[in-house]
Assembly symmetry: C2
């Protein structure tokens, strides 16, 4: 198993990326191909006693930044770590690719270089969503702001396969984000998608209200990329704001401070539930290879976890399984 990693992508590259790769090689017994500016990567690598027959550097002279326009960057920066890494997957030199870089460029690059799975109209970004019960998977997290019903069906199918194979939940439930749980509610998009879901042999449980998502009411949360991005960002925003407001209360006077001190371990435990570094990264579903988008501010631990996730993504043959299942569904709803 060989995982390619974008050595130059993310706010803390290359330092934390290299650190994550070193740990991954040591812990998971895999090979890692670090892609990026050789000199910089070697400089970072010097400080670690790592088996260099397992951690390779593949030189790429250019870097795609977060300010770059995705499609343009893919076209013009052909020797960027991101494009070169994707090419390694395309030509089967690597089994998967992890990048903490420009999300749009990673998505566009994956579609251009690796291609879509046959039968998938729109690849999506899936994101782990922390809940009271553990985790759910949200698809689409922001790749497709505007969708057709068929796209939502694909998101549900792909999300369920990933959840079962990589997150290890048997027969995961699929729910469609809607306002209210009644049949007739929502938009044309939602009504159309629901109909398509009911025609398939999937574990589709109908509508999921936003209020119930944090409780973990469904395993796979399906929505368009606009709503999905709002859900992810808002959840993060509400949690952070609540913590800030609580903190304010907790330091107001000496009694509160004492109480908060006693609760510190409990609060830390709680914060951990919301910590993205625990969960690795966001898989791109629907492209013809295992690609993981790590959080832009990933530290070494987050990168290491993303590599583990990429390993499982490739090992469990998720891409092949999506290809097989989408074939069974055929063109259902693709004319809409």
């Amino acid at each position: 198993m060989r995982i390619a990693v974008d050595g130059m992508g993310g706010d803390r590259a290359p330092k934390e990326i290299v650190k994550g790769c070193v740990d991954a090689v040591q812990e998971f017994g895999i090979e890692v191909i670090l892609v990026g500016i050789q000199e910089q990567l070697e400089e970072e690598l010097k400080q670690y006693p790592v088996d260099r027959t397992k951690l390779h550097i593949h030189h790429a002279s250019e870097v795609i930044t977060n300010e770059d326009k995705p499609v343009q960057a893919i076209r013009t920066k052909k020797d960027s770590s991101l494009v070169v890494g994707l090419n390694l997957v395309k030509e089967k030199t690597a089994d998967a690719f992890v990048s903490a870089g420009n999300t749009g460029a990673l998505l566009a690059g994956s579609i251009f270089k690796i291609g879509r799975i046959k039968g998938i109209d729109r690849p999506a970004i899936a994101s782990v969503y922390p809940t009271q019960k553990g985790i759910s998977l949200l698809v689409d997290a922001g790749a497709n702001a505007e969708c057709k019903p068929r796209n939502l069906l694909e998101f549900g199918l792909m999300g369920a396969i990933y959840t079962e194979k990589v997150l290890g939940k048997a027969n995961p439930t699929i729910g469609l984000v809607n306002i209210g749980t009644e049949e007739g509610k929502g938009t044309d998009l939602i009504r159309g998608a629901r109909q398509l879901f009911y025609q398939q042999d999937l574990n589709f449980v109908g509508n999921a209200e936003a209020r119930d998502l944090p409780k973990g009411i469904v395993d796979v949360i399906v929505c368009d990329g606009f709503v999905g991005n709002v859900i992810l960002k808002l959840t993060e925003g509400v949690a952070m704001t609540m913590m800030a407001m609580l903190k304010e209360q907790f330091t107001k006077n000496i009694v509160n401070k004492l109480g908060a001190a006693l609760l510190m371990p409990a609060l830390k435990e709680f914060k951990k539930t919301l910590d993205y570094t625990e969960y690795g990264g966001a898989p791109l579903l629907g492209v013809n290879g295992a690609v993981i988008k790590a959080h832009g501010s990933s530290n070494g631990k987050a990168i290491k976890n993303a590599i583990r996730q990429a390993k499982t993504f490739a090992e469990k043959e998720v891409v092949q399984m999506i290809a097989e299942e989408i074939k069974k569904i055929g063109d259902e709803g693709n004319g809409e």
Copy 2:
């Protein structure tokens, strides 16, 4: 000032509704017309020493329930408290109407009976959104799942007027919910609406990311009713789930319990920020009268606060001001 109140709408009607009306009459020096089944309302009223020259009962023999289909209910239950109450506003017997009943029926009934303000394409429901800084106003909270750019412009205009006149914020900022803050991001709807906003002389500050809404980044949050409903429900869901998860931590062992006991006043203070009963209800904006939707589970205090809000809504002539301002905007974007 005379406010009509739906005596039969809401989970706790008529008991808590009557209680709220009695308190409102005593505290605000206004008249209240309680609309509903006379016998039941009289029975409740008996227990309070209230000035009956100020608290009137207007009999209505039917009740619209939450299970009723909105449009059908308005057409067939002509003698329901909801329809009769709206008619009181229409014929100027009452200056405003408050109901904790069926939201869809209240909206449809307001449009059919009272009518829209000239120039407003789609009336909306506005909801107070609690933030770290205080409150924002979110429009649309769920009346219009599918929108055109022009609708969002109207929501922003109406929301700003209501925020200034009723919530008492001078020159409120208006923000458009989007994914990312860049110009080109989002959907056709968002891009179209942003263009319309920039053509007007409004305090429009551009995109607002969902992550920043709980911080109170804008005074008026503009979005379509689908996204708005997701935002409201998800915020509630995340807050409730976090409180439940914290509570679990807080009772885990004796040290945590002690810490939590010391913090109890702080936690209560915090919970109050999220308490809907403090904020009254949700105004219907764009109909030709002051109509407030109170929370379905409103207690007496919530109803009293909703009546105070209805009073300000009518006193400050919000409806007239919306009519004047929308005339200035004209048909801009209405062809789209």
